[in-house]
Amino acid sequence: MLNVIDDTVNPVEPFLRTDRMPHIWCPGCGIGTTVNSFSRALIDSKIDLDSLALVSGIGCAGRVAGYVRLDSFHTTHGRAIPFATGLKLANPKLNVVVYSGDGDLSAIGGNHLIHAARRNIDLKVICVNNLIYAMTGGQTAPTTPGHATTSTNPYGTFEPAFNLPHLVEAAGAVYVARWTTFHVRQLARSISEAFQKKGFSFIEVISPCPTLYQRRNKMGDGLDTMKYYKEKSKVKNGAPTSEVGLTLTGEIAVGKFVDRDRPDYQSMMRAQYVESLGDRYVEMADLEEPEMECVCG
């Protein structure tokens, strides 16, 4: 049922499992804001929702799969991209979106991330980066910037952090962008653009974690962080990704960094097999709609 007030409906409402609201995300968390931008991108790009599958891993951002009224998978930890790869290979007509967090995608799932980018599998990856392992209690993640205080580094982080746009560009992604939760309209436009691309698209969204990251680093609440994003972020479209690393309190480079074309996994596979097998290579027939019979009632 839609939650209708007076005679109007919230545009995001048709995309939500409203029976599961209110969600578990903390006050001031930015993940819900990214869902708003995602839903606006779905409206703008006029995608057939029956051809869309959303895959999430584990973590705060992994909960998105349970809250959207789409065909969605909530997979095991770090394995969102392998599940999505399987979906895409079995039914190449699907639009497959991976919606997960930085810990899931770049830590336990880091290997899958770089290899999916290397193979250029046609996936749209939305990585909500809150710079910490949030659901497990605020431990240092591979994306935590230097000198940040976390529960496992109470005297400050000293490990170098991953610069995710640089990592996926080097691995071979065709579309790489970064926005923060402050840039809602830009993010929606970026997601729409990624839907038009064929190949591995990666959109990083910097999001506040007021309960763990901002509190431990004395950076205020969610609203203070949004003001910080507004003040410190700088649009640098086409900037070299090697220069867009994040620091604790410094500038946040946002924008579309990479937009290029490379043959994707399935077209490379077809080209190779046609070359080596010739007529003997038979492409998979289109999937037929399974016959559904309702036995209820």
Binding site: N10, P11, N36
Partner: protein, 89 residues
């Protein structure tokens, strides 16, 4: 006459304040009232200023607020679109 209107689902609100801070025309304020979870949801203080841009709806992490254009603005936009389409022919 306001160009738009804000609707608020009070019970979903967690009082993060994003809508109040980022409303371009400063229509909202956090109210003193509580919802059943103990948060202070926003309320409309300047209804006449609302442009119906729905930026509050884009920012709200709890899907608790949204803006809509008023019927007059919608029909004016539709008329503009048809004129533009006619002009291209």
């Amino acid at each position: 006459m306001a160009k738009g209107r804000v609707s608020i689902v009070v019970e979903r609100c967690k009082a993060c304040g994003f809508c109040v801070e980022f409303c371009p025309t400063h229509v909202l304020e956090l109210s003193g009232a509580f919802n059943s979870k103990g948060y202070h949801p926003p309320h409309v203080v300047h209804p006449e200023k609302c442009s119906g841009c729905d930026l509050c709806g884009m920012y709200c992490p709890d899907f608790a607020i949204y803006g809509t254009k008023s019927a007059e603005v919608k029909s004016a936009n539709a008329a503009k679109d048809t004129n533009a389409a006619g002009g291209e022919k």
